[in-house]
Amino acid sequence: MTNATLTEKLKKKTVGIAGCGGLGSNCAVALARVGIGSLILVDFDIISESNLNRQYYFLSQVGESKAPALKRVIHQVNPSVSVITYEVKLDPEHILRYFKDCDIIVEAFDQADQKEMLIETVLSAFPEKPLVVGIGVAGWGMNERIHYRQTGNLHICGDEITGISELNPPLAPRVGIVANMQANVVLELLLKK
């Protein structure tokens, strides 16, 4: 497929991204670069300096709300992406409302309990809609543990083992690898249809 055909196909597609932290910001920018039509970005959080070790933001943006800040970053890369933002802490009701018309949903939360809530909600409410999750991104090295697997509409990227802790922080390389794997799965699914 040529780049022109590919962008023509992607122009008509919408991807919902739940969380605009390390996974969400990097995945969204990758999709914007290749010409995704629309993105729906959801995050309630504000950019702090400690986020800059992995998230696609800049020092000048510290203190700004993540979802609209990410929209501005995306538009510096590709102004033709249509971006809708919601600055809320996602609950099951929001998920149904905001993501019902998305072609694909990307799970990009930080906390395990939030990941669980989103996956349970999507698998119950949208059993046909592809959901691409990032699980196990902390630390550094261990490239050989990072993998992709699929079960039904659930697509899993990450090592599925390494959780964050004080001695195992989330860092740009490994979080970025998994975020871009998620974007890569999204592309594969969108271009296959």
Binding site: E120, T151, L154, T162
Partner: protein, 67 residues
């Protein structure tokens, strides 16, 4: 019975088992889990009643923080 657990064939002596029995047998002791049997989500309050039988395709996803 023979089942597929996380894309890998597994054999058990029993003819059927509940989700809780499977988690115990495999020592999956994580708090945050997603369990699917043949593609259907099993909710937490069904772990004691939902059963796994021969030829079932079971997915257990362990959720860890980080993103």
């Amino acid at each position: 019975m023979k089942i597929i657990l996380n894309n890998t064939p597994e054999k058990f002596d029993q003819d059927m088992m509940t989700v809780n029995e499977l988690l115990k047998a495999k020592t999956f002791t994580f708090k945050m889990l997603i369990v699917r049997i043949n593609g259907n989500l099993v909710k937490k309050d069904e772990y004691n009643t939902a059963t796994i039988r021969d030829k079932d395709d079971v997915m257990v996803l362990h959720l860890v923080s980080g993103g």
